[in-house]
Amino acid sequence: MKKKRYFGRAGIFLLCALFAVLFLLPTVLTITNSFMAESEIVANYGMIFSTTSGGFVSKTVNLKFIPDKVTFEQYASGLVKSPDYLLKFWNSVLLVVPIVLLQVAIAAVTAYGFTRWRGKLRSVLFFLYVILMLMPYQVTLVPNYLVADKLGLINTRWSIILPGMFAPFSVFLLTKFMRRIPYALIEAARVDGAGEWQIFTRICLPQCRSALYSITILVFIDYWNMVEQPLVLLKDADSQPLSVFLSNINSGEIGLAFAMATVYMVPCLLLFLHGEEYLVEGIANSGSVKG
């Protein structure tokens, strides 16, 4: 019996390892290939992304992890020689950072409102937020477009930032966190004569510090990779974020694409490595729609 259990666990371990390799493969491939010279990339992937640059092209595609020679050539040509990618990266920052900060700030105030006062109206409103949160972009983009058009914001960053600020996801998640703060804590502060704003900033916010962090990471990752909104609301190629622009790199520059994708991954990677525990906690707490 014991032996059987042991083999069972070994099997599970191997299965996990297999999955882990499959899950990691694309990430590792992107990073290692970004250090390959263009000639090596062409040799490896020339069959897929037909290039005109000539040189040796292997007959079959070569999925290779370790570059023959580590070079920063791709990074140099992407970041130093032409300002295009840096500009698009900056576009992403200008779009995503205001959305994340404002969305989380507004959500904190709103979630406090939903936590401190409850009633029929409040629960109806909260349910409305949940429904809104669950709507696919294709539904919300039409209203967003109409408003942006009315306000003359099409082709400006604000057409994406303004609706993003009020996206209900963080309200939903933060409310669930705040409802767990012991009521006695708030009551005690009230007895001591603290006003609502003071209770909010001095008691409530410090209590959800980790929640705020995890929501920030989640929202950042989501918006950092946005495609739908810029496609519809930003027709101007110059103001596109890197998430959309990366896919326009023409097929002759695959090495460059790997390098720029790696650059684009860095902010997410840092947030992920630094705050994985928070991220996991954040996800875990988004776990049920009710309550």
């Binding site: 299965l15 996990c16 919300t140 039409v142 609502e196 496609l231 519809v232 992920f272 875990a284």
Partner: protein, 295 residues
């Protein structure tokens, strides 16, 4: 008496204060989502933004005779129909596997979660390397004597996208299930052990019951994410991909280009209605399934 009225006033003031906290968000949600959605409903019922004659359901009728819309609707349904159950089952499986006492557990969790942060464009690049006519998958299959196919231009295109969807979303869903599993009262499982219950009984009668809210949530989330896979498909195959990959999102996106407000509005209203119906059904199912667990 005086005290009572004082209390009442305080309650009124309290309410007002509560609304103050909600008002910025309510204002924003109203201006950017609710009111314009009302306009969308209005647009879906008139014949043109210029003439503004009420035609009621004519726009919807036209939509249901539009072959592109029907194709897109069918594809979206069939994709979600496959993607949602697979995501639920596989991510639950991953979570259960990580419950076993195996080494490197937290590393595995990190690895499974890592696809979350990979930029869309680099995913697209890798998927091309794998599934291109001359790609790695074909090369691998050639060892077994299979013919080369251009995966994204074939009847298997949806499967390729399905793999992409699962790869991207399983980690997130797994975390949800891990949290759900951790919330099952230990005593219950121990008691079952003492009474000699089988693993299967423990899984189906205890764990699954307690997991029903999580299952509901993962289903809803997967449904939304199955719509979001448009990102990758669009970047892989453009605005007009292989027939089975043409989804409602493509339809909407292409309609945005022509700015046909009536068509757009009617499609958005239909999608909203379908979503609300599905969500309501899922809620009902969860109420029924997990009724003696909660509370």
């Amino acid at each position: 008496m005086k005290k009572l009225s004082g209390k009442l006033n305080e309650r009124g003031k309290d309410r007002l204060l509560g609304l103050c906290f909600l008002s910025p968000s309510l204002l924003g949600v109203g201006v950017f989502f609710i009111i314009p959605f009302g306009v969308v409903i209005y647009y879906s019922l008139i014949d043109g933004v210029g003439s503004r004659n009420f035609v009621f359901l004519e726009n919807f009728g036209k939509l249901f005779r539009n072959s592109a819309f029907l194709l897109a609707g069918r594809n979206t349904l069939s994709f979600s129909f496959a993607a949602v159950p697979l995501a639920v089952v596989l991510s639950l499986l991953l979570a259960l596997m990580l419950e076993a006492r195996i080494p490197l557990k937290s590393q595995f969790r990190t690895f499974f979660l890592s696809p979350m942060m990979v930029p869309v464009a680099s995913i697209v690049l890798i998927w091309q390397v794998l599934f291109n006519m001359n790609g790695t998958v074909n090369e691998f299959l050639a060892v077994f004597g299979a013919d080369k196919i251009d995966w994204l231009q074939s009847q298997y295109a949806q499967i390729v996208v399905l793999l992409l969807f699962l790869w991207k979303n399983l980690g997130y869903d797994m975390i949800l299930f891990m949290a759900g599993l951790a919330n099952i009262p230990r005593e219950l499982l121990e008691m079952a052990d003492v009474e000699g219950a089988s693993e299967a009984y423990k899984f189906f009668s205890i764990k699954l019951r307690y997991l029903s809210p999580t299952i509901l949530f993962v289903m809803i989330l997967s449904l939304i994410n199955s719509f979001k896979i448009f990102r990758e498909v669009y970047l892989l195959a453009g605005a007009y991909p292989y027939e089975t990959l043409y989804t409602l999102q493509h339809f909407m996106n292409n309609t945005f280009d022509s700015l046909d407000y009536q068509k757009l509005s009617a499609a958005a209203v239909i999608m909203a209605i379908v979503m609300v119906v599905i969500i309501a059904l899922l809620f009902k199912a969860e109420d029924w399934f997990g009724k003696d667990v909660e509370g």
